[in-house]
Symmetry: C2
Subunit: 414 residues, 2 copies
């Protein structure tokens, strides 16, 4: 199908989807859950084709792992659907109501955004996750997965279509692009009349190319250069635990700590012990001059290091003279993703919370908590560091917008 025909079909389908009863939506999700479990063998066989081609193309092992659909991945997709069924339907929720002096009752009601295009790389489970979040929030969706996963995604999309059909829901609102043709995608991203939002999920190169080509608004984050500032009034036990967790619990994630900022008054007491714990866990430390004095094994950190998202067991460490310096460092080198302060001082905690404008700012807690499930949004569609519409994890609510509704008794404009 040509891009405009495909997007047009999604738009027309999305108009109907916007008014689908919650019950019908949940039935579709439940049917899909059943099909995923029932067709395990088929899904694994189709996935095997992608895996074989990936191995022939000498894809690196971690990428092959991300591409793999095994029983665990299938079980996780299914349990994700069960969780989503339990979440409240955001569509139609009236989030606020107030009365005007004229007696007019005014409110804001959640409605779907319209058609959302999700562009992702080789993880096939995103096909199910992205569809289900868009569907539950009443949005049409255009799914564009990586070409390495084309057999897996086609199989998963087949099950999605089958679930819609079984429940008598027209399938037009859900579209899938199986071409690896960049021009096709770029033409699609020009169709501002039919597509309302683009969410690219993947590496920085993918996201930058989408952002450059799209005429449709894009919600994205390029990278997560997350910092923890250990204040002079920190509880060092809390600081040790939180910093270790933020760095080593899963270093390849966007919300892992990349930079540790330590107030000079607490550095002597805190940093050698902290460095010891890091080194025991295999973390390489790159530090400022003063850090190197306290941590003999530290390598020197250059200007580029402070900007770097390592996604690895590497950490930059800087000793600062004040919280001002820490906040300025985050302003210069950070990515407005996730930053934390460790402190027992009330005023410093509040000042840091107010003045650091990242998508999540924490006091005495790990940066790894920036995640839809962890924060209590339920499932999420990635994290936005775009300061418009949604800033931070995007859950079901972030896939809606509010319209104004007004209940009158003949009110006029005078």
């Amino acid at each position: 199908m040509r891009p405009d025909a495909l997007a047009g079909a999604a738009k027309a389908g999305a108009r109907k989807l916007a008014h689908l009863p919650t019950d019908t939506k949940n039935k579709v999700l439940s049917t899909l859950e059943g099909l995923l479990l029932e067709r395990r063998a088929f899904l694994k066989a189709e996935n095997e084709k992608d895996i074989r081609e990936a191995r022939q193309a000498e894809m690196p092992a971690p990428l092959v792992e991300r591409l793999t659909i095994n029983d665990k991945v299938i079980d996780e997709m299914a349990s994700g659907l069960r969780d989503l069924i339990q979440l409240p339907d955001p569509v139609g929720e009236i989030v606020k109501v107030w009365r005007r002096p004229s007696g007019l009752l005014v409110g804001r009601m959640r409605i779907p955004i319209g058609v959302i295009c999700i562009i992702y790389e080789s993880r096939p489970n995103v096909t199910v996750d992205a569809f289900s979040l868009c569907f539950k929030s009443g949005n049409g969706v255009i799914l564009k997965g990586g070409k390495e996963a084309v057999h897996s995604n086609t199989a998963l999309f087949g099950l999605i279509r089958e679930s819609l059909e079984k429940e008598g829901v027209a399938g037009d609102a859900v579209q899938f692009i199986d071409t690896g043709d960049r021009t096709y995608l770029y033409n699609l991203l020009k169709l501002t009349d039919s597509i309302d939002l683009v969410i690219p999920r993947g590496g920085e190169a993918l996201i930058r190319s989408v952002a450059e080509q799209s005429r449709v608004p894009v919600l994205k984050h390029y990278k997560g250069v997350c910092a923890i500032y250990v204040d002079e009034h920190a509880d060092t036990k809390v600081a040790l635990d939180v910093c270790l967790n933020a760095k080593v619990q899963k270093p390849a994630t966007c919300n892992a700590m990349e930079t540790l900022l330590v107030h000079r008054s607490i550095a002597l007491q805190f940093l050698p012990a902290m460095a010891k714990a890091f080194v025991e866990r295999g973390v390489r430390i790159k530090g400022c001059r003063r850090t190197k004095e306290l941590v003999p094994g530290a390598e020197p950190a250059g200007e580029a290091d402070w900007h770097e998202e390592y996604l690895d067991l590497i950490l930059t460490v800087k000793i600062v003279d004040s919280m001002d310096e820490a906040i300025a460092h985050i302003g210069t080198y950070g990515s407005e993703h996730t930053d934390a302060i460790i402190t027992t001082d009330y005023n410093n905690a509040w000042r840091f919370l107010r003045e650091v404008n990242s998508s999540l700012v924490l006091v005495n807690a790990s940066t790894r908590l920036n995640d839809g499930y962890q924060l209590g949004l339920g499932a999420e569609m990635g994290i936005s560091t775009t300061r418009l519409h949604a800033f931070g994890p995007m859950g079901l609510e972030e896939l809606t917008v509010t319209k104004f509704v007004a209940f009158g008794e003949g009110q006029l404009r005078t």
Copy 2:
């Protein structure tokens, strides 16, 4: 200044503005109010230069009127500032807080968007309105007014800068572009690292050219083709009053009614009386075939008429067989701006409210009420029909976004 230097200065300035105390912001607004009143003669003299050039260029009279700064316009700008000072500062407001099972307290805190570029046409009062809304919400602003108003805007901008200086606020966050050079503007609209949002205010041609050129997200509305559906269960007295108000109270506005849809069961009882009232007020009626039978003076409405935003005393009228047909008509020809139903039927009222996804949907009230002041938002920055971030009138809150904040006691990711 080059576009990148100007936008960069605005961005750096905006970072400081984001944390300015409410009191300081209100003092600047109050100082500006005083200056506007004190420098009346200067403002009118500068404006006179624009008026003279406009007359020489044979600008049409209504446009010259919009360009004019007289005592009334000055008084309105000043009273707008007084009203804005009274409105709560949205920055730092925590809009929601919840506790996670781990004990982590999570909330959402309002922060400014960043730098907003406002592009407008010949009304010089927008210079003050746009600055003051962005300033109160902590945003940097780049003001680009029409070249016809360059003397007026330069004078007003001078007073804005003077107010900032008097209160010791660095002026970088507020920039003004006095060039009419399109290339300059288009280059500016590519600077996604420095500018977070563009709001064009004016005619459809201006808005379309900005939307086409901008790489920065744009909130806009192209036009308002607003409809009122008079249901079979309408109170005809309410219907008469509301429809007359929606059409004639100020026909040149985007929220004036352009299309009247009447259920066939009530048409005979309602439409002749309604048409009589319209004709008495000078409204030309273009109707469907059945309308013409009931309203002998009506002209025939062609396909193009249903799409048209007349902004004039012209109205299209269609008799429909059902509410479904009315909703379908609005879906096909409407602009997702403002639509209303007149009914006494509970189910029809709710169904219309739910199924018509325009930025404001009303029951038994005039479409003319779609306005920030009327709906109770206070001052507004225009109306958005973009279904992202803000849909409907944009007040102070719509010029902010929320970040997540989390108050912990050592919580980790496990």
